[in-house]
């Protein structure tokens, strides 16, 4: 046996009783599928879900489970790859790469793969496939923004009766609005994978070639050869840099307001009082959509917030940026310089290849990955950040409606119900509205569930779920599993060790050597972006993972350590760009390290050592 628990035997604490009802039944391990489930290898997906899962937030996962797999198995037909299956155990999210299909299916898929995948590789640039994708995707997001969540009128207005009665009314509108929102989420996530599986494949294929030619090359160097500089991911940060420059050029009054300690709302109010301030606000408003639709976290959870609804974050960065510029520093990334540097690196490695056939193979593989890889970098902003922000905002409109009619106590309680349950609340509400005056809905029932689930999630936060379940597989073929979650022999071995570890006993942890250099310093453990203002100059950032909205903090820190993410993760890319040491994908850094500990980050070997524990 592998050393991992049987998924059906894991016991959850009594306080978590009721967690199973929070999620769709097909997410729960059950006797019905036990034989298959025990045979698979399930691991805690800390990349996408480091915390207990809110029932509504599961929707994006429900959507990707279908969309990712469908691309592998039914559309581009990556021969031995099947999908990535999901389960919830004790509110925690587990995934598994499904074992390869039969030999016969692999053969059939290979034919289709050749025909279809290569069509995309060959035509990605020629046919402007990315541009077409972005256009369609943004149209979808705009449609979601336009969905109206109507209030329930005491009487339908005259316009709905004259000149011709409309026939369907607000009760239907509300149900339709919700359905449209849900449909759009599923559609967006189908788009999400349109070219992603193939761009990962191109990356892995290039990495294979490079590793054969340079057996000892580091993954982070491969990442550097492939990474684009002008990717959308950096845009929010760049917009802030522009706004900071503009503020300085508009004179002291604008600059001083932005540098002051007032709240964002007060700053906006002040700025609107004079022409230069209003000029700045115009540019600010222009930049907001789409560039402030960036999550303060990963984009996966409603509670992370986005810049657009957490203005303290961008305003705090603006203040830092203005101060940096005033002190003679630079806040812009020199894209030409980054491009030039990347080209030089590739050229130098290429020059080291003495055999002509090998050099051709290198060129060919590089050509493929350069053609399509930007998709992997760009889709992230549009889907996980921009689109998810729109969705969460729209859901809050439903939440506010429920609060208005006493169905729930708080707007965000709406996220305590899974996507199949919300229609019941809507139906209960519109039924009571339609039935007429003084007809009560079951408001106390819904509020009761919300309260109970809050307690369950709280209990789940204090529970330590096993890192993996089931049986270690013999082989993994699914490109995402390899690329995104970095499943390798070493990882599995680390996890097996991890089953029994106690955080306080650990003095050294291992991860990816994501950005080189060695540095020692004080750790600052940050779990959510709203804590980011606690980070002090010269500290070492320790966090679950980072994303574009964290970018400005990299100017302050001297190294970064993450729980999750490989060599192409956001933290890895940004650290390499800023020349900061970084170790990513440690799995446990935020559990093992405490703020104030003195740690040594060795970005060359991928080791983090706890040199001295902080007092108390």
């Amino acid at each position: 046996m592998s050393g991992f628990p049987d998924p059906l035997e894991v016991e959850t604490p009594d306080e978590m009783e009721g967690w199973k009802e929070m999620y769709p039944p097909h997410y729960i391990f059950s006797e019905e599928r036990a034989e298959w489930e025990r045979r698979q290898f399930w691991y805690l997906d800390k990349i996408h879900a480091p915390d207990p899962m809110y029932p509504f937030d599961l929707i994006f996962h429900e959507a990707w489970q279908i969309a990712l797999a469908q691309l592998n198995t039914r559309v581009f037909c990556i021969p031995p790859a099947q999908g990535v299956a999901q389960r919830i155990l004790g509110c925690y999210f587990y995934i598994c790469a499904v074992e390869p299909p039969s030999e016969e299916t692999i053969q059939k898929k290979a034919e289709l793969f050749q025909k279809r995948a290569f069509y995309v590789f060959e035509n990605y640039e020629k046919e402007n496939l990315y541009e077409k994708w972005e256009k369609r995707f943004r149209e979808l997001g705009e449609e979601v923004k336009k969905i109206e969540v109507p209030d329930l009128p005491t009487f339908e207005p005259d316009e709905r009766v004259f000149p011709e009665p409309r026939g369907y009314f607000t009760s239907y509108d509300l149900m339709e609005a919700y359905s449209k929102l849900i449909d759009s989420i599923y559609k967006a996530w189908q788009y999400h994978f349109q070219y992603l599986n193939l761009s990962y494949l191109a990356y892995l294929s290039f990495a294979d070639v490079v590793r054969k030619l340079f057996p000892a090359i580091s993954e982070s160097t491969i990442g550097k050869m492939v990474a684009g500089a002008d990717v959308v991911m950096f845009r929010p940060q760049e917009e802030l840099a522009k706004l900071a420059r503009l503020a300085i050029s508009l004179g002291d009054r604008v600059k001083d307001i932005l540098r002051s300690d007032r709240s964002p709302e007060e700053k906006i109010e002040e700025l609107s009082k004079f022409p230069e301030g209003r000029e700045w606000l115009r540019d600010f408003e222009d930049a907001k959509d789409p560039w402030f639709y960036v999550s303060c976290g990963s984009g996966w959870f409603h509670y992370e917030g986005s810049w657009i609804n957490t203005l303290t974050v961008p305003f705090e960065y603006l203040k830092d940026y203005i101060e940096t510029i005033e002190a003679g520093g630079s806040v812009e990334r020199d894209i030409d310089e980054i491009h030039k540097k990347r080209e030089e690196i590739v050229k130098e490695y290429r020059n080291l290849i003495k055999n002509e056939d090998d050099r051709n193979a290198f060129d060919q593989a590089y050509d493929y990955v350069r053609r399509i890889y930007s998709y992997a970098e760009n889709h992230l902003f549009w889907v996980e950040h921009w689109f998810h922000t729109i969705v969460f905002e729209k859901m809050r409109e439903f939440g506010r409606l429920f609060v208005r009619y006493g169905m729930l106590n708080n707007t965000d309680d709406v996220f305590l119900f899974n996507r199949f349950e919300i229609p019941m609340i809507i139906e209960d509400l519109v039924t009571s509205w339609a039935l007429g005056e003084n007809v009560p809905p079951r408001a106390e029932y819904w509020k009761g569930i919300a309260e109970k689930r809050k307690k369950i999630l709280e209990a789940a936060r204090n529970w330590n779920p096993p890192p993996a379940l089931g049986t270690v597989p013999e082989e993994v073929a699914e490109p995402f599993t390899v690329m995104l979650w970095g499943i390798t022999q070493e990882k599995v071995t680390e996890w097996i060790k991890g089953v029994t570890y106690r955080p306080e006993d650990v003095t050294e942890i291992k991860g990816f050597a994501a950005s080189s250099g060695v540095i020692e310093g004080k750790a600052r453990v940050i779990r959510f972006l709203d804590e980011i203002t606690q980070v002090q100059e010269g500290e070492i950032l320790v966090c679950p993972n980072t994303n574009p909205s964290w970018a400005p903090v990299f100017m302050k820190i001297k190294a970064a350590v993450t729980d999750i993410g490989g060599l192409t993760s956001h933290a890895a890319i940004v650290c390499r760009e800023y020349g900061l040491p970084s170790v990513t994908g440690t799995g446990v850094a935020t559990q093992v390290i405490k703020t104030g500990d003195i740690i040594r980050v060795d970005g060359d070997s991928g080791t983090v050592t706890i040199v001295k524990r902080s007092e108390g």
Partner: protein, 359 residues
């Protein structure tokens, strides 16, 4: 100056006159690499020494004695070697040659600015340092030699080292003519080595040409060469110029100079054993020099280096010698990937699975 040539006066085309080692040191000096200063005593000096008026024909005489030896008969080899070396070492050095060597040494002392400067006296054979007939280590090297008399005495010892049992056997087996071979000598400022070691401009473990691998230990390089210690190991990515691997080993022994000349093995003080023998700046600077040396010679190289404790970084770094890397340079004629289109490459990736061992 007929018998002495300073490093900056010689280059790779002077092997026939100053031997391989000296020619190569000259080549490196002229290419701008940090080689400890010094001079070569030419083959002419040796030739004239053995053919000097009083002892005319001595070299031919020696060749005759040696040519009769069976290279497989170690006892006989030993005997002949002692006999011949004795003949050489008892031969007085012609005055004008001795004078020129002494003058060069004194000039050297004046130039560096201290008296009786310690030098290394090494033989520089004409067939040495050739990739396919590596003579390296076949002739003697004398370290930490001070004073003019001692220098001259060790120059003669180097000359006689042309006739060590190993050298005799080697020539016999390879079919080199004992009469034709000759020897030059290198006199070079001794590096006061805090750390030293070797550097390969490829990864010797896997032939990866994108890496430079440095092995380093405390004290003189002899400790590594003789296998007395497991050295620290650093790998540097040539393109990124970043340290990608750092393995610090416990270094329990080191080789240091004795004040009265020569070297001695000692235990490394305990507090130093676990410490890396190079810091990051030194590793990167060495790698940078290694990369340049490789560029200069256009082939992967095997380089000996040392860090001098009497100088400040980066002046503390010295290159002692270099030679072409032989193991991987011979292989690797075959393509690693072979002719494959981007299509083939993606296809092979798409059909590959990652095997995991069951634990």
């Amino acid at each position: 100056m007929k018998y002495v040539r300073w490093f900056d006066e010689i280059g790779k085309d002077d092997i026939s006159s100053v031997g391989g080692k000296a020619a190569n040191l000259g080549e490196m000096v002229n290419a701008g690499f940090p080689v400890p200063p010094g001079f070569a005593i030419t083959i002419d000096a040796f030739e004239e020494f053995l053919e000097s008026a009083k002892k005319r024909g001595k070299k031919a005489h020696i060749a005759r004695i040696i040519s009769k030896v069976d290279p497989k008969d170690t006892r006989e080899l030993e005997k002949v070697s002692i006999l011949v070396r004795d003949i050489v070492e008892s031969t007085p050095v012609p005055e004008h040659i001795e004078e020129e060597i002494v003058r060069a040494y004194e000039k050297f002392c004046n130039h560096v600015g201290y008296e009786n400067i310690p030098v290394a006296v090494r033989s520089s054979a004409t067939a040495e340092d050739v990739p396919d007939a590596s003579f390296a280590g076949q002739q003697d090297t004398y370290l930490w030699i001070r004073g003019k008399d001692s220098v001259v005495r060790h120059v003669v010892k180097c000359w006689s080292s042309l006739y060590t049992p190993r050298a005799i056997a080697y020539r016999a087996t390879k079919g080199f003519d004992h009469y034709e071979v000759s020897i030059a000598v290198v006199v070079q400022k001794m590096v006061n080595s805090r750390s030293s070691g070797v550097m390969f401009t490829l990864n010797p473990a896997n032939g990866d040409v994108s890496q430079i691998v440095i092995e380093s230990s405390w004290g003189l390089g002899e400790a590594i060469v003789s296998g007395e210690v497991t050295p620290d190991r650093f790998a540097v990515d040539k393109v990124m110029e970043e340290i990608v691997e750092r393995t610090v080993s416990p270094k329990t022994r080191w080789c240091v100079f004795r004040e009265d000349g020569g070297v001695v093995y000692q235990d490394v003080p305990e507090e130093m054993q676990q410490k890396p023998s190079l810091d990051d700046h030194e590793v990167k600077e060495l790698a940078r020099i290694g990369k340049k040396i490789e560029e200069h010679y256009s082939i992967p190289m095997d380089i000996e280096w040392a860090i001098d404790r009497d100088f400040e970084f980066p002046e503390s770094i010295f290159i002692l010698q270099c030679r072409p890397e032989t193991v991987w340079s011979k292989r690797k004629k075959e393509p690693v990937i072979k002719a494959k289109s981007g299509f083939d490459l993606i296809m092979s990736r798409a059909t590959t699975t990652i095997k995991l061992k069951k634990s």
